[in-house]
Symmetry: C2
Subunit: 234 residues, 2 copies
DNA sequence: TGGACGGTTCGGCGCCGGCCGAAGCGTCCC
DNA sequence: GGGACGCTTCGGCCGGCGCCGAACCGTCCA
């Protein structure tokens, strides 16, 4: 448990947590960007980054006078998601600008390497309806749909679904295919794992979604809406 | 991310982490027991317990002059497991007595409400072989069995498997049926979730396993070995 | 009605860790 | 070469937190 306390200690500081939260977009940030984002001096951020890298949460990549850092991998993102989900639903932010940003994030965003927000949830629901995914709460349940939906977090890919994915260019690797990721804003699981990352990549590569500015928020483009229909999603 | 830092802060202290680790056996402990286990004064433990309860990690149950505390639920156990698994494999303990305890734990133990250790892994493997469980890394893979096995962490219950479980008395509820839980000692996923908890209960109720002293370590009884065969496991 | 016992509250101590600014180092670009 | 820039190192400050023992409160038992 000593080791657990150590990694928890890395995340126990609000500045370091803010840094990790920013990196959840899956991209590499420079030390200065993160310092500004967290609202601390560059020297302070530098020390935090060193600790996070030494702790194995982040990897760094030095390029000229820049120090880029990123999450060390999907396992770190999963850990952060698990903790954030546990920390529970947050109160909605106040203020016009904050609300606008929050609304864009709630509509659709990237969550490390896959899609989240209402867009992410819609994608999962569409894939289930199209028979690509199957949610695995096989039990008869007790009729309580609200809680049953929350618990319905076993996602598996059907055989036709795998064919569909491979036609899009998907190649299964060692990484776990599907993983439910509890959505912060929607409180509903959406699709993560190798398949989720692949679909997010496809959507970005083909211009079906576009990042809003440099934030994690994304927007479904008109081409994306068309493709959505072409793929047989609702 | 502020909330994440807060819950991380609860686990960032080695004494509190030790307390949570002890409670991972799924039972309720008194404040005094936990103080002794963590090696701190009763007053110190009392304050820690208050903080953990207020933070939602623990629930308490006052009975006479005793204060029993336990993990607030499976979701807390899952969080702890995720963090412990992330923290990585530990060096083997030194010393005869420590090694003996460690060996018993590695052989078989409870992990909150399900079975872990070699026994837990054997159970999972047996269930897969018997067709009750299916591991879902559906891809053709790349032939790398070692890593493929680690990634093969999608566990689903087959239709015949569900019939088999129901014959044992299993009733599906809202809780997620299966969940892979990365084993600390074996570094291989085993069966958690509602089905894992149910099987652990069955094994304990029917005397197929027995706790060693008051620790989390468990032993397969002769009746258990017989039942193991009767159930068609290997 | 005592005494033993589990738990809690409170003061006080000491340390650890986060923060900053200043100074220094390496890189890039004019 | 010189200046701008990104980053790091180093002191020093300060607050917070974990720890303990002593005193206290309730419960249980003889």
């Amino acid at each position: 448990m000593e080791a657990l306390a150590q990694v928890a200690g890395l995340l126990a500081d609000s500045t370091r947590a803010a840094i990790c939260g920013a990196l959840l977009d899956g991209r590499a940030w420079t030390a200065r960007e993160l310092a500004a984002h967290a609202g601390v001096a560059a020297s302070t951020a530098s020390e935090h980054l060193t600790r996070l890298v030494e702790g194995g949460l982040l990897v760094e990549h030095r390029q000229g006078r820049h120090r880029y850092v990123a999450l060390a991998g999907p396992h770190v993102a999963e850990l952060l998601e698990a903790m954030a989900a546990f920390a529970g639903p947050r109160v909605p932010p106040r203020g016009l600008r904050a609300a606008a940003v929050s609304e864009a994030m709630a509509r659709g965003r990237t969550c490390y390497d896959h899609l989240a927000g209402r867009l992410g949830v819609a994608l999962k629901v569409g894939l289930v309806a199209a028979g690509v995914l199957r949610t695995g709460t096989a039990g008869v349940g007790n009729g309580d749909l609200a809680t049953a939906d929350l618990a319905a977090s076993d996602l598996t890919i059907t055989e036709p679904g795998m064919v569909w994915l491979k036609e899009l260019g998907f190649e299964p690797g060692n990484r776990r295919l599907t993983r439910p990721c509890l959505d912060w804003t929607e409180r509903v699981p959406h699709l993560a794992g190798a398949a989720g990352a692949f679909l997010c990549e496809v959507f970005l590569d083909r211009g079906w979604i576009r990042r809003i500015g440099t934030s994690r928020a994304v927007l479904l483009t008109p081409e994306g809406e068309q493709a959505w229909k072409d793929l047989g999603l609702t």
